[in-house]
Symmetry: D2
Subunit: 144 residues, 4 copies
Amino acid sequence: MHVTHTEIEVRYAETDQMGVVHHATYLVWFELGRTRFIKELGFSYPKMEENGVLAPVTDINISYKKPFRYGDTATIKTWLDDYSGLRAIYGYEIYNEQEELCITGTSSHVLVNKETFKPLIMKKVLPDWHMAYMDAMNPSRQER
Amino acid sequence: MHVTHTEIEVRYAETDQMGVVHHATYLVWFELGRTRFIKELGFSYPKMEENGVLAPVTDINISYKKPFRYGDTATIKTWLDDYSGLRAIYGYEIYNEQEELCITGTSSHVLVNKETFKPLIMKKVLPDWHMAYMDAMNPSRQER
Amino acid sequence: MHVTHTEIEVRYAETDQMGVVHHATYLVWFELGRTRFIKELGFSYPKMEENGVLAPVTDINISYKKPFRYGDTATIKTWLDDYSGLRAIYGYEIYNEQEELCITGTSSHVLVNKETFKPLIMKKVLPDWHMAYMDAMNPSRQER
Amino acid sequence: MHVTHTEIEVRYAETDQMGVVHHATYLVWFELGRTRFIKELGFSYPKMEENGVLAPVTDINISYKKPFRYGDTATIKTWLDDYSGLRAIYGYEIYNEQEELCITGTSSHVLVNKETFKPLIMKKVLPDWHMAYMDAMNPSRQER
C-alpha cells in the first residue's frame, strides 16, 4: 500500500485561544496530504479541475487524540483506504515529532462535473487514474 | 428536546475555487450552533473558559449532501444528542433557504483543565450545567 | 454620506493563541461590511460575479488599536471613501460594545473580467452602480 | 541586509470562488515569512510567547499586483524594514515561479505583556534580540 508522508509546520493563524491548533484546521491538513498522495501517484488535482472535474468531499470522520501547538512539526500519513470505482476513501494519520499518533480520520470523495455538479464515473473520465487506484487497492496484481 | 436555530450568511472568504463553501468551514458553523445552544440553555462558553475549563472536540462525523454558495443563508439546527456525564455529543443539521437538508454531523466533547489539559468531571466542575444536560437528555423528568 | 452598520459576533475559530481575534480576520470582516454596504445601495455582489465581473482588492491599509475577544460583538462601519470611475476605495471602522474604535482601514478595488482578469470600466459594465457611486461621492447633487 | 526566503505551496482551502488565493491569506503568509526570518536570526517566536511576551501587529499595508492560484508555489522575501527600539517594521515581497513580483507589504509590531497587553521595551525584555535588530538596521557596524 502506498503511504504518502507530508510534513507541516504549524502556522500561528491555525491556533485558537485554547493555545492549540483549531480542530477545523486538520481537514485542511488532510487536503494537503491528499494533494501530495495524488501527486506521488503521478496525477495532478489542479489539472483535473482545469479539465472540468471536481472531487468534492461527501463524508469525513476525524478523531482528535492529542493537540498540536505553534512551533510543532506534523507528519501526515495519507493512503487510499477504499476505492469502489465510484467513491474513493482516503485514510489519514497525523503524528507529532515524538511519533505519537495525534489525529486520525477518513474522507470520502466522488467525482462531479464542474458546471453541473452531476456525478461522473472515474473509469470513463479519468481512466488512467482509475487504473492506478484499482492497482493501489490490489497491490498483488501489480506485483505479478 | 431543545433544538437551537442559528442563521448564517455565507461569507465570501468561506468559498473556495469550486465556487462553494469549503468543507472545513462547516466545522466552524457547527461551533456557532454549539455556542448558541449553550447560550439558550443559560450558560456561557466564553465564561467557562475564563474559569479554566476547556471543552475540546474528540470526534467529528460530517456528511455533505448539498453545497452552500456565496449569497446563501444557512440555518443550523443544534441539539444535545447524547450526554453520559463525561462526554457530550451534539447533533447538527444545516438547511438552505429551500429547507433542504444540506449538511449533517455530530461532535463529541470532553472537559479538560485549561493549564494541564487533564480530564475534568462535568458534574464536579459545572454542576448546574451537568443538571441542565441531564434534563436535556431526559426531558420527561423536567416535565413532572 | 451613506454609512453601513454590520454587527458581528466573534467566532471561536477566529481567535488565536494570543487569546484575541487573529489580525487577518479583520480583512474578512471588512468584506462583510462591504457586502452589506453594496446591498444597502441596492446592488448584489454575488449577482455581479454571476454576470462575469469581479472586484478584486488592489490595496489594503489596516490599523489595529484594540483587540477583540471571543464573546465580543463588533460593529463595522463601512462607507465609500473615494470613487474615481475606475477605482473604488471603501473605508472601515470597527467598534466594540463600549463604542471604542478598535480597527480602522481602507480597501481599494478595481473591476476585472472573470475569465481574463482584464480591467473593466464600471461606467460601461455597471452603469447604474456607477451612477450610485458618483452620487455617493457627491451627495449634494442628489439633494438638489 | 538579511532577507529570508520562504517557499509556500498554495493550499486548496486558501482559494476563493474567484479561483485565486483569498486576499486575507497573504497576511498569514507574511506571518510565515516573519517566523522564518526570526528563526534565521537565531530567535524563536514560540519561545518568546512562552516567556510571556507577545508581538501584536499594529499596522499592515499590502498591495496586490498579481494573484496566486492552486498549484502555484510562492516565495516570500522577508526583511527588517525599520527598527526604532520600540517598533519593528517588517517588509515583504511575494514572487511566483516566473519571478514576477505579485504581492508587497509591510507590518508593524510592538511588544506587549501576555497577561496585561501593556507595552514592553524590547531592549529590556529581549536584549539579545534588540542587539540583533539594531545590527540588522546598521549592517556596517557588524562588519567593522
